[in-house]
């Protein structure tokens, strides 16, 4: 009889244990969508597919709406209205557009112009798909149009004005990080306590995974040998954003030389001292802006800027050597060297 009671208690204990584990169990849910002219993946930790879907769809909606405001190629975007009105009149914009431009100017100032959102007139000269390299004369003639100091922001009136006609504001170097911040905010509004938003390579993680571990982000090898994603390093993140800029994203090789989209605002030519730069900070808008700036500045000045701004950075220089800020020591796992 005693034995029976023991067995019964043991059985009951196991049932209760399993029962307690299965109710309200948190799981990871993931969905992807083509938004902002790129591939967006939102991952959330939730207790049901329904709750996850609701939150993810809301995040997609927020990203989509923001993307429409700052779309460089759409005639109906606020950004296009600013560009069309360059040198003519100011344009009233939404708080999101104003804030993005304000932060872009902040990154420009802090980086001494290494990042410049008015790089548009230079970028449009290149076609990285058709391998079109503009002449030096064309590049030089557009340089006077590139200067972030000619952006006039009136926060009181919520307006933006580009001082010179034909100036072109291009927020491609900062907007995806800003969108990741907005999406995380949207997920939190829907009661999600943990998740990860990846807008192409601009990623923001918050909270912990169901196993109480931080999110792990792989950093792409800038010289991978196949189309498959090859990872050069891994980093654990929680309540942090990470962005990477690389010379392998939009590029072509001509006469043995690599021409890519990360142009030096002062010269209009591609920067050539880095292969890739990854930046980690609290906000996606900062990681997205500063990874460009550090890439342009190169390893030495770039690390100096990262330290000054309190950012963590991993820089792979033109020779493939990896440089990191002291803050990344112990957090970064280098997968392979090359």
């Amino acid at each position: 009889m005693m034995m029976l009671k023991t067995y019964y208690c043991f059985f009951l204990f196991i049932c209760l244990l399993l029962g307690s584990c299965s109710s309200n169990k948190l799981s990871t849910y993931r969905k992807s969508r083509a938004l902002m002219d790129t591939f967006v993946t939102v991952t959330v930790v939730a207790d049901s597919q329904e709750a996850a879907d609701k939150a993810i769809e809301w995040a997609f909606e927020v990203i989509g709406k923001y993307g429409n405001l700052i779309n460089f190629f759409s005639d109906t975007s606020e950004l296009s209205a600013i560009n069309r009105s360059a040198g003519i009149h100011e344009v009233r914009v939404s708080p999101e557009t104003l804030d993005t431009i304000d932060r872009a100017v902040f990154v420009s100032e802090k980086s001494g112009g290494a990042f410049d959102p008015t790089i548009g007139p230079e970028i449009k000269l290149w076609d990285f798909i058709k391998k079109v390299k503009p002449s030096d004369l064309e590049i030089r003639s557009n340089l006077p149009l590139v200067n972030y100091k000619n952006i006039v922001i009136d926060k009181g009136k919520s307006t933006v004005f580009l001082k010179k006609k034909n100036m072109l504001l291009d927020l491609g170097g900062i907007a995806k990080g800003y969108a990741a911040d907005l999406a995380v905010q949207a997920l939190k509004q829907k009661g999600i306590a943990s998740g990860l938003v990846a807008i192409a390579g601009d990623i923001k993680a918050f909270g912990l995974k169901p196993d109480n571990k931080p999110w792990v982000v792989g950093i792409k090898n800038p010289r991978q040998k196949s189309s498959d994603d090859e990872i050069i390093a891994k980093v654990s993140l929680s309540d942090k954003a990470i962005s990477t800029s690389g010379d392998y994203e939009r590029y072509f090789i001509m006469d043995g030389q690599r021409f890519h989209h990360l142009l030096v605002p002062a010269t209009g030519q591609p920067a050539n001292s880095c292969q890739s730069v990854s930046v980690i900070a609290d906000k996606g808008v900062m990681t997205d802006g500063f990874d460009n700036a550090i890439f342009i500045l190169g390893p030495e000045k770039g690390l100096e800027l990262a330290r000054e701004m309190g950012l963590d950075a991993m820089i792979i220089d033109a020779e493939g050597t990896i440089h990191t800020t002291p803050g990344l020591q112990g957090k970064l796992i280098i997968e392979r060297n090359h």
Binding site: Y7, F11, A34, T43, A205, K209, S227, D228, S243, G246
Partner: protein, 128 residues
Amino acid sequence: MKETIRNTTLADRLLFLFLVSLSVAGIFLARDALSQGSDVIIEVDGKPAYTLPLNVSRLLSVDGPYGPTVVEIEGGKVRVKETHCRNQICVREGWVSRGVIVCLPNKLVIMVGGGNKRQEQGIDAITG
């Protein structure tokens, strides 16, 4: 054998039942946790449209705003063979055995084995 069964108590039988249930549950749990094998998942406008095995050669035409896009699977790899959008970025991607091919104008996303590889590496997302 019959003698052994006859000698079992109710508790023994309950325990046996519990262990059998646990084993059956284990099969389902393991199926969820382990890799499902390599499939090609094609999404159109954010919605799953096709799931195809990666080990069966096939040509598939997927309709989009810019007309049909021809997806080819062969030798454990997938590629966009033909599409009618302007930039042809997805075609230039070439053959992919793990990862994602995106054709933005056609709102087409082709995912292959990427999730499994990431899981193996313990990676939740990739930057770069």
